[in-house]
Symmetry: C2
Subunit: 290 residues, 2 copies
């Protein structure tokens, strides 16, 4: 049995640029992503809401439409919940699922020699947040991509199950940002990691919209809800055949101080172009400790 709980707080995790329907989708997507990161199969959700008294019933109906939409997509049953009054909106979802047989993906199973790979693209969700929070304008395709990435993320549930079936052992979902989440794996596995900056699958539209910040959005923006995993090359090649989204190898697991992340350039030299920046976003406290 797998179980996870996660909370979204008004003004901390979401703002007025998020519709109720998007909020419902996203709150559930975050939890589904935790089950995806274990390679599990989601089954039941419990939803606890705290709400100010002046919220319209139609807003809560929209919230539930968003939750139902993603729940139906992943054959998840919203089995119960709770409503309390409070001065602000807090959405807590507990999600239960099951592992596939005895296999489960964990943060603690990475080992030296493993390659580090990620699904999909990085930086789009953070680009979306930046665009929405600052009301920036881009071409319509870019705006749709960024909004979708931030407000309507699709958790990699199927992909997690495929990883698990192919004996991948170490994975995490990218909620805090690639750097922070890779460090979580390194700490839990008592190893270090080397990431080649030029290999990061940063979406071309992120480069185009934010040329100076694309790297930092990808490394520390968070909320991409892609899967980061470690495995040998043979396994990664097998996985690629079954997974329809891009899979990109970005670096190696190495013997090092537990939790040590080294960024390198194409020549294998430590990446130093913007050292202060890196230190900032590798060690910055996350707003959400989930």
């Amino acid at each position: 049995m797998l179980a996870t709980i996660d909370t979204m707080v008004q003004g901390v995790h979401f703002g007025s640029y998020t519709s109720w329907r998007e909020l419902g989708w996203k709150a559930m997507a975050q939890n589904l992503s935790d089950i995806a990161a274990m390679g599990g199969c989601p089954e039941y959700a419990l939803v606890s809401l705290t709400l100010p008294g002046d919220i319209e019933v139609s807003s809560i109906t929209q919230l539930y439409h968003g939750m139902m939409e993603i729940a139906n997509q992943f054959e998840l049953v919203i089995a119960g919940g709770n409503i309390s009054s409070a001065p602000l909106v807090v959405i807590t979802i507990a999600l239960m699922g099951k592992a596939q047989g005895k296999r489960i993906l964990t943060r603690s199973a990475a080992k030296p020699g493993d390659l580090i790979a990620v699904t999909g693209y990085l930086g789009t969700a953070a680009a979306g947040l930046k665009m929405l929070a600052s009301q920036l304008q881009f071409d319509s395709q870019t705006m749709a991509l960024f909004r979708q990435a931030h407000q309507h993320p699709v958790p990699r549930v199927l992909e997690g199950q495929i990883l698990s079936r192919h004996q991948v052992q170490a994975a995490i979902d990218i909620s805090d940002g690639l750097a922070a989440d890779l460090i979580h794996i390194c700490e839990a596995s008592h190893i270090g990691a080397q990431v080649e900056i030029d290999r990061l699958p940063i979406h071309p539209r992120v480069w185009a919209a934010f040329p100076n910040e694309a790297l930092s959005l990808a490394l520390s923006g968070g909320e991409d809800y892609e899967l980061l995993f470690t495995a040998n090359l043979e396994t990664i090649n097998k996985v690629k055949e079954e997974i329809s989204c891009p899979i990109t190898v970005i670096g190696n697991i190495v013997e090092a101080s537990p939790g040590q992340l080294t960024l390198i350039d194409k020549e294998g030299k430590p990446f130093t172009r913007d050292k202060e920046g890196w230190e900032h976003f590798i060690s910055a406290p996350q707003k959400d400790e989930s």
Copy 2:
């Protein structure tokens, strides 16, 4: 599998008169009481906290001590959780457990002819809240009883399991108050209930401390976390032999409009002494819709 979720909000469900340790105990007790009301066996808890930045770590340690204390008592494992920042403290606990075989107590299984019974005493938790919120003084034994009842309730987990083993089918825990929770059973079972006011097991110290309000504290005060159940006399007598706390028969399930609760006096006449008062607390909206 059984699962429940419940939330406590600072300023709504608890105030400054509650210590962090008591808060941890009580938050977990509420959830355990939901499992008790189904006759189940608690297994795992997930705890999600939202906390303002200025809370001392030692406060959270105390909160967890309170949760661990009751978890250990009921062989419950706190298996995980989440922490987010927020302007106020919100504690959400999801609790998973298992049913005993195929039996489960529900709100929807009461039937005409059943007797209505409750465990323990009523009104002590509400008396405790009144005492703490208004800083009232009584003799030390009374104050200890009231404080214990409100801040340190002991969920009837074992008792719920005994009810279930003896084929009791309908039960609920008294969180909103006897009247509101009995109405929940009546609505879910599509029946009505008659309760004889003089049979209510109101604690003598509640009568002594609040002679004019004892009845209303017992009927609508809430948070007693006793079990209310329906069964025939033979079953109730068997249950009494195994359960160490008082079990009191307070009325009957009757054919009536679904959800109709009639309060009667010793002679079986409708109870009218304080009609306005009754209507108030039978229909009053609860602060927590759990």
